[in-house]
């Protein structure tokens, strides 16, 4: 449906048929990041061996596993709608191969990397018994790359980044995960103080760099152009 309305000859409102798909893409993207944050948080709680009288440890593990599948469903919806949206030139290969898209290639590429990592994490978790614990754990460490990459993908490509509540939601997700990582670093590996210190330093640097980038990038006017959005001049077949 294409709706064109003219308000007394003074205004032109253009609503395209793919707008609902775009809304779904944005909504599922935001929900996915929250679900991924929940999955990450539960994984970190498992890592610090959290349990309580009403919350045994196996519940954390089971919920972590189930939530990751729920997140995958919403992530799938996010990807399907993004590809189905005829406005943005995102194809199926763009979903899995990073940095080949013509639409904001770098930021979409980060999403591809996060998706690939998530698929790898889930597949290796499904075959964990056959893979062996050490190999599985090695792959599972990729979650510490997957989640931040997904968050930066959302901040870099998202059209809602500058909306206050979206920014607040993202900051809350980051604060939760950072808090749990600090807890993990404080509790785990008692014999590896050096690794813990290096991890804490890396975390601080990543947070600092991300904050500076966010303030000077997505939160500034003109970010879309700098992000690599195709310009109208480059569009073929446009009258």
């Amino acid at each position: 449906m294409t709706s064109v309305a003219s308000a007394g000859g003074a205004g032109v409102i253009v609503i395209t048929s793919s707008s609902p798909i775009w809304y779904i893409t944005r909504a599922t993207g935001l929900v996915s990041i929250v679900l991924l944050t929940g999955t990450m948080a539960l994984g970190l709680l498992s890592a610090v061996r959290f349990d309580a009288a009403t919350w045994p440890r196996y519940i954390t593990g089971a919920l972590h596993r189930n939530l990751s599948f729920v997140a995958l469903v919403f992530l799938g919806l996010h990807i399907i709608t993004a590809v189905a949206d005829s406005y943005t030139p995102i194809s199926l290969p763009d979903v899995v191969i990073p940095f080949i898209s013509s639409y904001r290639p770098f930021w979409l590429g980060l999403g591809s990397i996060a998706f690939d990592l998530m698929i790898a994490l889930i597949i290796t978790s499904l075959v964990r018994t056959r893979l062996g614990y050490r190999s599985w754990r090695l792959v599972h460490w990729g979650v510490y790359l997957c989640w931040p990459v997904a968050v930066i993908h959302g901040l870099g490509i998202g059209t809602d980044t500058r909306t206050r509540w979206v920014l607040s939601l993202t900051c809350a997700c980051v604060a939760l995960v950072v808090g749990l990582i600090i807890w993990r670093l404080a509790q785990g590996w008692p014999s590896n103080a050096g690794v813990r210190a290096a991890s804490a330093l890396t975390l601080a640097i990543v947070l600092l760099v991300s904050g500076v980038w966010l303030a000077n990038g997505p939160l500034q006017p003109g970010w879309a152009k700098r992000a690599g959005t195709p310009s109208p001049a480059s569009v073929k077949g446009t009258p």
């Binding site: 294409t2 609503i15 599922t28 469903v73 809602d160 500058r162």
Partner: protein, 142 residues
Amino acid sequence: MRRDDVRYAVAAREDGLRRVRKFTVTIGSAATACCAVLFAAFGHAATAGSSSSAASSSGSGSRTSGSAGGTSSGASQGSRSQRNGASQGSRSQRNGASQGSGSQSSGASQGSASQGSGGSLQAPTQAPAPTQAPPQSASGGS
């Protein structure tokens, strides 16, 4: 371990896993509901933004729709219809084409909206789609 203890432990675990399944379904339902709410909010914002933009531009003598000056600086400015930095909207502009313009459109919408009433007409600042947008992005002046 006595057999009763084993049974009790197994039953407790089954009960816990049942709770996890219930909780998972609840989370999935809540996430779906959140998606629906966000969908409605984005659509509502687009409609409200477009309406307010049309109303504000109707008395100004110049025809402008879309980006409230063509900038992408506000998350909720104008018709909220830019994809390039603003957040909500009817997606008539998504791709950064409107930055700094505000008074010109390009692509399919150019020309069509500048016909008619004279004065300092401004075409709708609708950016063309990178791909097959023209069939969807029809625009019209009076």
